[in-house]
């Protein structure tokens, strides 16, 4: 690829170690180089040390041993400001933009905060025209179109990301770090992003991308460094890049099988299968808002199938999940917030059934009395009690069921037995039920959550973002368990922003776009192109 010819290193880590007071190494003897003019990927599971490695680069963490070289010279930044002044810039997963300012002013905001000047910040003049001229030149040079005069909140996600990149270029960054840049993009926006990044690289910039989407590595990388448990386990340059499977194995340290081979999959149920979850024309309009939050949402989940809901985050998934969390509370809050729950063409409330019951009358507790499982999207805030022991987390949502309470008292023994069995079945590690749930790794937290929701073999299971921030090994377990549930005749609703996951697991796929549900995509149409187009709001 482009920069492979140039062998000068933009950044070099030399035996960088970062040890904490308790003896744990976040980074240990990390050595790798990012060649100038290349697109370098940094991959590894959660807690593998990517964040610490980047913190070292930005001067947020000082290495306990080893050193950094920047363009061949020793580099020991004392603060992020110093790193920025030396031409290093970062685009965070969650953009650091002020929504209520224009794109131009967002750039000025940052420029002023890092400029060295004897004049106090509040008294400095803003050079808007000058800045605009430079930004427009940069935008043309690197192919990053942004409307600089619009408020950031009115820009699309892709445009906001381009603005973040322009911000760095404006500050003369020649090393750009992007953290999970495609997490919020449609497949097409992601492709466009990598085209842009390659253009940057071709003009001599060096780009470091942190990602967990291994396909991006094999498709776009000039080089990749894999971290595991704080150490570099591989640093490879094109054309010696590993395959996706090899990458996964390197990250985990043992062989993982993500192909879901050997999992029994009976054919999808016919139209006469029992309907477990039914939405009919549910709309949610906020008074004064131009666009509906939910627009005429209609679908059903039948016994023995997985229905997948894909889409870029923020297109209605959260409203749908809030509705499923506690339908009656949701309906109430809609009235209070002077939103309108509309049923196109009907007088009465739109039809909404869960396991044969009129769902509008159900709240979270009455749902729990049904054969129902629910895995919320934010596991630490909604799904778990991070400060409570794992055992109590197995009780959450089950506390009023006869299985766990009798004569007004909790049945601790029954709980303990279930908790132990569930942790066993999902291979939760460590197997200590007294540890606070928040101290487990993301993958093990998610296993606890799923183990709990599946413990009573629910007939209907709603699962949101089941593998977000979860390590590769745990993904395998989780996917297999979900398919087993389907095999046992349960109906599953899978809401995920990971398109690959939805395509691999679901029998039928819907796509949320601007509050509307597009689809279903099934059979031949259940492919990345069709679904990806729908994620961008384009239907075929």
């Amino acid at each position: 690829m482009s920069g492979a010819a140039s062998h000068a290193l933009a950044v070099e880590y030399r035996n960088v170690s970062r040890r904490f007071d308790n003896g744990v190494y976040a980074n240990r003897n990390v050595s790798f180089g990012v060649a100038k003019g290349t697109l370098h990927f940094l991959v590894g599971e959660n807690g593998a040390g990517k964040t610490t490695a980047l913190k070292v680069l930005f001067g947020l963490v000082k290495p306990t041993e080893g050193s950094l070289l920047l363009h061949g010279k020793p580099f020991a930044p004392a603060s992020p400001v110093e790193a920025v002044s030396r031409g290093i810039g970062m685009v965070h997963q969650h953009f650091m933009l002020s929504e209520t300012e224009t794109a131009l002013d967002n750039v000025l905001l940052v420029v002023e905060s890092v400029r060295n000047s004897p004049v106090p910040r509040a008294l400095r003049p803003l050079h808007r025209a000058e800045a605009l001229q430079k930004l427009e030149a940069l935008a043309r040079e690197f192919g990053l179109p942004v409307d600089f005069h619009r408020l950031v909140k009115d820009l699309g996600v892709g445009e906001q990301q381009r603005l973040e990149i322009l911000k760095l270029l404006f500050l003369d960054a020649d090393i750009l770090v992007l953290d999970e840049p495609t997490a919020v993009l449609t497949p097409f926006e992601a492709t466009a992003l990598f085209t842009t990044l390659k253009r940057l690289v071709a003009q001599g910039k060096s780009v470091i991308v942190v990602t967990h989407k291994l396909r991006e590595v094999t498709a776009h990388a000039d080089a990749v460094t894999v971290l595991r448990q704080g150490k570099v386990v591989a640093s490879l340059v094109r054309p010696h890049l590993p395959s996706i499977e090899e990458l996964a194995n390197l990250m985990v340290g043992h062989t993982v099988d993500l192909s879901l081979q050997g999992v029994l999959r009976s054919p999808a149920p016919g139209p006469d299968a029992e309907v477990l979850l039914r939405f009919e024309s549910i709309s949610l309009l906020e008074k004064g808002a131009a666009k509906p939050r939910l627009s005429n949402v209609t679908f059903e989940v039948r016994a023995g199938e997985i229905v997948g809901i894909a889409g870029v985050e923020g297109n209605g998934q959260s409203d749908l999940l809030a509705l499923l969390t506690s339908p009656s509370a949701w309906a109430e809050s809609c009235q209070e917030a002077s939103r309108v729950l509309k049923n196109e063409g009907h007088k009465k409330a739109p039809r909404f059934e869960i396991l044969g019951h009129d769902a509008w009358t159900l709240d979270a507790r009455s749902l729990r009395a049904l054969s129902w499982g629910f895995v919320p999207e934010d596991r630490l805030a909604q799904g778990l009690l991070p400060d409570s022991p794992v055992e109590e987390n197995y009780l959450l949502g089950r506390q009023h069921l006869p299985a766990y309470s009798r004569f007004g008292f909790l049945r601790r023994k029954a709980l303990h037995a279930t908790a132990q069995a569930a942790s066993e079945a999902f291979d939760v590690r460590p197997r200590d039920l007294t540890l606070p749930a928040g101290s487990l790794s993301g993958g093990n937290q998610q296993k606890v959550l799923l183990a709990r929701e599946m413990a009573l073999a629910p007939r209907l299971l709603v699962v949101a973002q089941p593998t977000r921030g979860v390590d590769v090994g745990a993904i395998e377990v989780i996917h297999r368990r979900l398919l087993e549930r389907r095999q046992a005749g349960a109906g599953l609703l899978l809401v995920s922003s990971e398109l690959d996951e939805v395509l691999a697991l679901a029998d039928r796929v819907f796509v949320f776009h601007a509050g509307a549900l597009l689809g279903p995509f099934e059979g031949e149409r259940k492919n990345e192109t069709d679904v990806g187009l729908a994620m961008g709001g384009l239907t075929t």
């Binding site: 790193a83 979270a364 009780l395 909790l410």
Partner: protein
């Protein structure tokens, strides 16, 4: 370090700093400390007085702790105990001829109900109207004081005295004093306080509804998701907290004073916050914590006449230092990286923080 040791350390630091202040006033801090201790525990009489001071603090401490567990801050124990005591008094004055076991039982229930009502109001306002409980419970303290004045002065005033107090309750309502501590206000109400502590603990940790409250305290989103019914849990938590504060009626009205005296409480409700804070909201910790503050209350009372330059107000200073030490100790955990590296070296409680801080400043 365990929570208990940390609280103990906070007490030691608070006491030491508070006593050091008496040095500025020209007293010998060690001597003041000795007087404090002897005055709180020096004789049977002193222990009885300490117990009598600690008993109401158990109820208000439990009240604030229970609300804490549900993630709510009950600043209203002062008003709730006033309404509870008033309700118990009115019950006793309304049914003067009830026989012995029914009379105190009924009055205690009335006290609980009165306090519970005064807790229910902010609970309902919070759950249904979104009024922050800190604001509404503070407001209700003032309203409670006003209501108590009005009822006491205009409806059930004691005609035999010019003091602002009600008529005496009938003999059948009075609890027997503790014979071990003659001439002190300590009564069998102490045993109710001792029973209330494990009851609250069992409720919170062993029942599904208690689990609902704790879930609400941990995370409202988790409470909603898990069917803990956050709105009802909030109302229930503040209602029960109010009821517990209302039980102060038992030691005060039935146990010692036998009448409602306006302003009888030396801020038991607010001291309950200190009791709960020191115990970190754990109901079982209320016992040592209430005893400590009770001892402080009694001990400092004697400073007025046993020293020349220090008054009983030193109790407030020591309390403030203990609370500050508890809060500072929580701070050590929460200040983040900076706190860990600087303070961590001092307190040896540092631990690595790997994630979540690269976000700031790098852009």
């Amino acid at each position: 370090m365990t929570a208990f040791l940390r609280s103990l350390l906070a007490v030691v630091v608070g006491l030491a700093l508070g006593l050091a202040f008496t040095g500025f006033a020209g007293e010998n801090p060690l001597n003041v400390g000795r007087i404090l201790f002897l005055s709180a525990f020096g004789s049977q009489y002193d222990v009885g007085m300490t117990l009598a001071a600690a008993t109401p603090l158990v109820f208000t401490g439990l009240s604030v702790s229970l609300a804490f567990q549900a993630g709510l801050f009950n600043i209203g124990a002062e008003g709730q105990l006033a309404v509870g005591a008033l309700a118990a008094t009115l019950f006793a004055l309304a049914f003067p001829s009830l026989p012995w076991p029914l009379a105190p039982l009924g009055a205690a229930c009335a006290g609980f109900a009165g306090g519970a009502f005064w807790g229910f109001v902010p609970g309902w306002l919070l759950a249904k109207r979104g009024s922050h409980e800190v604001i509404s419970t503070i407001m209700l303290n003032f309203i409670a004081a006003g209501v108590a004045s009005y009822v006491v002065l205009y409806h059930v005033a004691n005609p035999e005295t010019s003091n602002p107090e009600t008529r005496y309750v009938a003999e059948s309502y009075r609890l027997s004093p503790l014979s071990a501590f003659p001439d002190t206000p300590a009564s069998v109400a102490v045993f109710l306080a001792l029973a209330a502590i494990p009851l609250v603990w069992v409720f919170l940790s062993k029942t599904p509804t208690g689990f609902d409250l704790r879930t609400l305290g941990a995370s409202e989103a988790a409470a909603l998701q898990s069917g803990a019914r956050p709105a009802r849990a909030k109302i229930l938590a503040l209602t029960l907290a109010g009821g517990l504060a209302g039980l102060v009626a038992v030691p005060e009205i039935l146990g010692s004073a036998h009448r409602f005296r306006l302003g009888f409480s030396p801020d038991y409700g607010f001291m309950g916050i200190a009791v709960a804070l020191l115990g970190r909201g754990h109901p079982l910790a209320v016992l040592p914590s209430a005893l400590l503050f009770g001892a402080l209350q009694k001990g400092t009372a004697d400073l007025d006449f046993q020293t020349e330059r220090v008054s009983r107000d030193i109790a407030a200073i020591i309390q403030a230092f203990v609370i500050a030490a508890v809060a500072a100790d929580v701070l050590v955990d929460r200040v983040g990286i900076w706190g860990r590296t600087v303070l961590g070296k001092v307190f040896r409680s540092s631990s690595p923080d790997v994630d979540g801080t690269v976000k700031k400043g790098a852009a």
